[in-house]
């Protein structure tokens, strides 16, 4: 069984082939790293997997179920969660409310116009617990506007973790962070239990290398190299793409 399967995925923006016959097969519990230079089509691949973009061809499967035609929001209910490379949080709300909104997304309570959200103790406690997982529980009641960039990066991950996903897609979770902060985030990601399958996009190979078991290299929308960490690092094509040799 594969946790996440992608077969012959195609996406064109006008004449530009952003995703060209991409196939991936990620095992349950696997840690997969997708690397590639700018414009390799990494984020587009995520958008195709989550359904935010419709593919021009090919299929996506989640635990061997074909979800190519499933609406994006339904895929979330089936167990896919993602983070964004550009932080996409609720600017006017507190950290706690941000995470609560994430939890609410999977709860039928989200339609309820009669009860007080702040009084839903179970939900609020769950949100606090999620913030504790990323070390932000002390800042729970702080408005997002008063948090640092590094804290927001962690909150971004907490948004996805709150949904208790089966497959977690991390889009450049280290972007813009200092070396210290990167270490914190990496520790956080490493603490995620093995029943969560993780696919991570990273632009910068050095940081994420420790995390990966298998690595896929994308270049101009195509899978160029795929294999274990050692294989990919040693592969001449990887060096060529990354060092321009």
């Amino acid at each position: 069984m594969t946790a996440l399967g992608v077969r012959g995925l195609e996406k064109r923006f006008g004449g530009l082939r952003v995703t060209a016959e991409v196939s991936l097969s990620v095992e349950p519990g696997e840690r997969r790293l997708i690397i590639g230079p700018n414009g390799a089509g990494k984020t587009t691949l995520f958008n195709l997997i989550t359904g935010e973009l419709r593919p021009d061809g090919g299929s996506v499967t989640l635990f061997d179920r074909d979800i190519t035609g499933v609406a994006s929001r339904r895929r979330t209910h089936l167990g896919i969660a993602r983070t964004y490379q550009i932080i996409t949080l609720f600017q006017g709300e507190t950290l706690l409310r941000n995470i609560t909104l994430s939890l609410l997304g999977l709860s039928p309570l989200r339609w309820n116009p009669f009860v007080r959200l702040a009084k839903r103790d179970g939900l609020v406690a769950q949100a606090r617990a999620t913030l504790a997982r990323v070390g932000l529980d002390d800042l729970a009641d702080r408005p997002l506007a008063q948090t640092s960039y590094g804290e927001r990066r962690r909150a971004e991950i907490a948004m996805a973790l709150a949904q208790n996903p089966k497959v977690l897609l991390l889009d450049e979770p280290f972007a813009g962070l200092s070396i210290e902060e990167r270490r914190d985030v990496l520790r956080l990601v490493n603490e995620i239990p093995r029943n969560v399958t993780i696919v991570m996009i990273e632009h910068d190979m050095d940081v994420a290398l420790d995390f990966a078991e298998r690595i896929t290299v994308l270049h101009f929308g195509k899978v160029v190299v795929e294999g274990t960490r050692g294989e990919v690092v040693a592969h001449p094509r990887t060096k060529e793409i990354y060092l321009g040799e």
Binding site: S72, T88, F90, S102, L104, N112, V115, L117, R120
Partner: protein, 309 residues
Amino acid sequence: MRRLAAIVALVILATLPLWVSGTYYVNIASQVLFYAIFALGVNVLAGHAGLVTLGHAGLFGIAAYAAAKIMNAGYGHLSVATGALVVTLMAAGIFAVLALRGTGLGFVMITVALGQIVWGVAYRWISLTNGDNGITITGRPSPLGLSLTTPTRFYWATLIVFVVAVVSMAIFVASPFGASVRGTRDQPRRMNALGYHVWMIRFLAFLFSAFWSGVAGLLYLYYNQFVSPQAVALTASAEALLMVIAGGSATLLGPIAGAGLVVVMKNVASAYIERWNFVLGAIFVAIVVFMPEGLVPGVARLARRARGR
């Protein structure tokens, strides 16, 4: 503290006819209340859902016209009220399906167009709407045997409806659904990725907004005993939006304050100043310059600063 303030406000509003001299001002107070209900309805969309509408006078007017038609066909007031609101909600459903094809400017333009269609029907479809002459009704309902023909009684009835509207807004704002609506305003893409049905949330917010606009339209008809194309004109939609923006959008008290401002300027100031429209415009400019967030949040900010000193 907030509860105390609410009780004081309620006592003042409830006893208003007793200490205000003359039915003229009681009538103006009634107008403020039902326009406030209208503004609260518009605020659901323009404030909380971030969908600026310039067509809500159409829904306000559909409620008024539908009620007038049903009433003149000889039905009782209960049928008039329910019938008018059902018609309004059905119209709102169609409005929403069409308008929600766009967001931002697209949404605004579609609501303008829909509002103008309603205006066109009111103005030109004379066999249905009596055109420019409008429709006159006679009589107000007598709930529990109490006739609402006097200005004071009508004021109290409007106040009760107004309080229900305010309470429903307060509950909506604090509810999970209210949070969902604001989420679709701030980060629609993220909301979709979190598993929310963004379109459906907006659709339901539209209906909620339309419901209170319809209630306001119904009160407008009963108050004036008359409805004409003027009620559904684009300026009426713009006025409602101005109430929301001037008072403070996405707040509870803002639309109420905005409605008070516009109605008082229209009625009271026009008695003293011929160019009252100019005064109203100047006030709006002042609000936008000094309190871009609106009257209520702006005053709250100034009060905080004064206390901090």
